[in-house]
């Protein structure tokens, strides 16, 4: 069975779409030999990410088994995960300026 999205590491809570995915599609997410089905709630463009489990506000986002940022609001399973709900933890000159 072909996979529609890729989970790179078992720690990951976001998957990368390997094709354009439509809202309310049930897709196969692959991680090595393991596969699981997820109902995607929003349109996900090729190469973009969606949550494979619900991520709480301020929760870490994992990809490659590593932290790539944190959630600025809750991201329920199957929802689009990108700059509108994830912020970076690094290079944040804006935060340091606020501290001063």
């Amino acid at each position: 069975m072909k996979i529609d999205a890729l989970l790179i590491n078992s720690k990951d809570n976001v998957a990368t779409a390997l094709r354009d995915i439509d809202a309310n599609e049930s897709v196969t997410v692959g991680e090595n030999k393991k596969k699981k089905s997820i109902s995607v709630k929003e349109k996900i463009p090729f190469g973009h990410k969606f949550a494979t489990k619900t991520i709480k506000k301020d929760g870490n986002i994992y990809k490659y088994g590593e932290i790539i940022g944190k959630a600025t609001k809750s991201i329920p399973e199957g929802y689009y995960a990108h700059i509108h709900n994830i912020e970076s933890l690094r290079g944040r000159g804006d935060l340091e300026r606020k501290l001063k």
């Binding site: 072909k2 996979i3 890729l6 790179i8 990368t16 779409a17 390997l18 463009p45 090729f46 190469g47 973009h48 990410k49 986002i61 990809k63 490659y64 590593e66 932290i67 790539i68 940022g69 995960a81 990108h82 700059i83 994830i86 912020e87 970076s88 933890l89 690094r90 290079g91 944040r92 000159g93 804006d94 935060l95 340091e96 300026r97």
Partner: protein
């Protein structure tokens, strides 16, 4: 395994045999370009630096010009100077000549203006090309190759296919005794703990953290979020959300070899194997830094389709995005999108990249060279223009 290249007096081997017309200061660029356009077999290097900068940057520019002149892809060098710049042209000329290479110079203010300088420079360049054309390429062992690594206009396919595949190719070269250089320190932010595990020793490990901290602090010093600058607007459209995510995909191109040493921008490595060089991620500065460090062939992975090449170092474009391969077919040399579709392993794609490196090093032209899209060049400076 061997490649066909041009041996220089100091034992280094180039993959190309150009006469380099190098401008020593932004104000001499026009004359350098005019000379190069008049003489077949020459390439020009121009930049926006060389005067009205702090001493730290003047030294940076001087050292980089020396590094570029020493690159074995240049048979000989003609320096083009205005005459009043801060860069010490005598020092540049002396240091390049030490490699045994022929170096000549023209100084616009001494010769008397652009027209006379172009005329004089053209005549000198013609003789140099005549001389260079006598050198035939010969077969040399693969350990003489110096590979530069670069990724640009990345999207989420970059970290899944082309970067890990380039890592495989770099590992093969390192295993055979060659040299592989990576930079793009900005794109290690968030992945330095992984990169540090590849350090050959504690000194290298410390230096990796030091360079990443220095780059991150530079970015933070302007008081803004790095996002939008890194990852770029294009990266974000390609699905990359944070610099951490971009970095984790970017570092894969360095492969699994141990990092033997860490160098300042543009400095020639004094040892073989995988090494790291300070540099931002932007193409003109990074490609120039790799060329100054002595890279004779560069592999550049891309997601959304970066077309840039460099004047005298062939740049091989590799993409894992099928749409990009189709849309920018006149810029992309290799397609590793079969990896994304599960039709090829990363190792197989890596071997294909390695084989392309050998072919290009031996004279096969890259699409950037054929189309002439080879002018991504400038020198990375750190201080203000004053």
């Amino acid at each position: 395994m061997r490649f066909s290249g041009y041996e220089r007096a100091n034992g280094s081997v180039g993959t190309r045999n150009y006469v380099g017309i190098i401008s020593t200061v932004v104000c001499a660029n026009e004359v350098a370009i005019d000379i190069a356009n008049k003489v077949k077999g020459t390439v020009y290097f121009t930049h926006q630096q060389g005067c009205c900068q702090t001493p730290v940057d003047i030294k940076r520019v001087t050292d980089t010009l020396i590094g570029l002149g020493n690159n074995p892809n240049l048979h000989s060098v003609l320096l083009v100077s205005l005459g009043c710049e801060s860069v010490d042209i005598d020092e540049v000329q002396k240091q390049i000549a030490q490699t045994g290479k022929k170096v000549e110079s023209i100084i616009i203010q001494e010769i008397g203006g652009a027209a006379r300088s172009i005329s004089s420079g053209t005549l000198k360049a013609q003789e140099m090309v005549r001389d260079a054309s006598k050198q035939k390429s010969e077969w040399h062992p693969i350990d003489k190759l110096v590979l530069g690594l670069k990724c640009g206009s990345s999207d989420t396919t970059s970290g899944l296919a082309p970067n890990p595949a380039l890592g495989v190719a770099s590992d093969i070269l390192v295993e055979k005794g060659g040299t592989s250089i990576f930079g793009e320190v900005t794109e290690i932010i968030g992945a330095e703990h992984i990169m540090a595990k590849h350090a050959a020793n504690e000194k290298v490990e410390k230096k990796i953290y030091e360079l990443v901290n220095r780059m991150e602090n530079r970015a933070k010093s302007v008081g803004a979020d790095i996002r939008g600058g890194q990852p770029t607007g294009g990266n974000i459209k390609g699905g990359l959300t944070t610099i951490e995510e971009k970095s984790l995909g970017a570092i894969a191109k360095a492969g699994n070899a141990k990092i033997q040493a860490v160098y300042e921008y543009g400095k020639k490595p004094d040892r073989k194997g995988l090494v790291m060089m300070d540099s931002p991620g932007r193409e003109p500065e990074l490609l120039t830094g790799l060329a100054s460090a002595g890279a004779t062939v560069i592999v550049f992975t891309t997601g959304r389709g970066a077309p840039q090449g460099f004047p005298f170092v062939p740049v091989i474009k590799v993409t894992g995005n099928k749409n990009t391969m189709n849309k920018l077919s006149d810029h992309m040399d290799l397609d590793v999108s079969p990896v994304i579709r599960g039709e090829e392993t990363i190792k197989e794609a890596g071997k294909r990249i390695f084989s392309e490196i050998i072919d290009v090093a031996s004279g096969k032209l890259t699409k950037a060279e054929i189309s002439g899209y080879t002018k991504a060049m400038d020198i990375y400076t750190i201080g203000p223009v004053i």
